[in-house]
Symmetry: C2
Subunit: 232 residues, 2 copies
């Protein structure tokens, strides 16, 4: 069993009839979308969804899920998404999949953000994984310079397969900040980043996770809630 | 004489041979672009420019100015732009023209940001003019709701002539926050706005003006520098 699949199926069990559901992006979220759609079909649940990327929306539609219009959605009951790192304070780095901006917009309007991971994503501190920062294409080279001057770490533009800067679903670009160790000033880092004009969002998520589900290779899962230590 | 034109011509006199020049957006900036181009033609100045909107870039090219590529520009020597309000601390509200994001990106890499206004734009405090906030289209209705909950003021989406939400040169949208009086907590307002995912930038410019030129109806101008009171 894939640990992410086992945990995604557990996460999908929290979706109930009548709910508005946020759909994450990435390989883990894809398992969750498939699992939610299977429940909708087998149990006749009536739910509506908003996806955090074109890719997830396409997968959801293909599996028969109903995509809602934003002007009819005020809150999400549940959102299921993955993460690249989760620390003991339930802070996360997200954005390896490039959808962090939409993921954060949805997470910040969600009552129960369920984060599905395998055990390797639980870290004593964040920062071994590069921190993605979404930037405006106009003048992005100068935004990169200012981030470099601010943090002194290596910064690489996220590239598409053709070697050009990747353009996100929102027409923006991503710079990966390689801290290579614990993030500096993690409590104020997001605000500091956003003082630079051209910075739109960053992949540091704080206070946006209400539930963690960890999948294991044997198909079992563990569930954790903010305040719980990660113990098995 | 149009006061903005007189002041724009004075501003253009600060452009020197060899400079990298930022071009603002709006009616005032258009006068400045025309005046800079006239000097380039008559005096043979060699300068290169980056414009803060497609409209300004088009006007600049039409007038024979050379548009630089961002990867060859590290700083701007001079940028000339307009403003909707300027207060005695040289803070500004900009963005009536919808280009505030690019204007702020350029201003924040500029050594001498020259702001050209007529006398009516000098205000004891900012906020009678609506504060524009640039937002990501994805979920903008929820971003608006969160701004409303935060400030309790009327918020209107900037619209194009067809009544649809205006899409900026960066593919983003603008919400106008109608405080109708002095901005609340002006020193922390920008950081507070940017805590909301989906907020990209705001039209409050702090510490980004190095020189104000005020034009008068009789064609005269007054020049002011941060620290100077606005007296005639």
């Amino acid at each position: 069993v894939n640990p992410k699949q086992a945990a995604s199926e557990k996460a999908a069990s929290y979706v109930q009839d009548g709910m508005t559901v946020g759909l994450g992006t990435g390989s883990t979220a894809a398992y969750a979308i498939t699992a939610i759609a299977a429940r909708v079909r087998s149990e006749g649940l009536k739910i509506r969804c908003i996806a955090t990327s074109h890719a997830s929306e396409e997968l959801a539609r293909k599996n028969g899920l109903i995509i809602a219009e934003w002007h009819r959605v005020s809150r999400f009951d549940v959102t299921i998404d993955g993460a690249d790192e989760v620390d003991p304070a339930y802070r996360m780095i997200k954005g390896g999949g490039g959808a962090l901006l939409r993921e954060k917009i949805v997470a910040s309007s969600t009552d129960r953000e369920i984060i599905v991971v395998d055990q390797s994503k639980l870290k004593p501190s964040l920062g071994a994984f590069p921190l993605p920062v979404v930037v405006v294409p106009f003048g992005w080279q100068r935004t990169r310079d200012r981030l470099e001057a601010m943090f002194g770490c290596e910064i690489t533009p996220r590239e598409a397969v053709n070697g050009e800067p990747l353009v996100t679903d929102d027409g923006l670009q991503i710079l990966d900040l390689h801290f290579g160790g614990p993030l500096p000033e993690v409590d104020t880092l997001e605000a500091t980043l956003k003082t630079i004009p051209g910075v739109v969002e960053c992949g540091l998520f704080t206070g946006l996770c209400q539930h963690v589900i960890v999948g294991h290779l044997d198909g079992t899962t563990h569930e954790f809630f903010p305040g719980d230590p990660f113990t098995f």
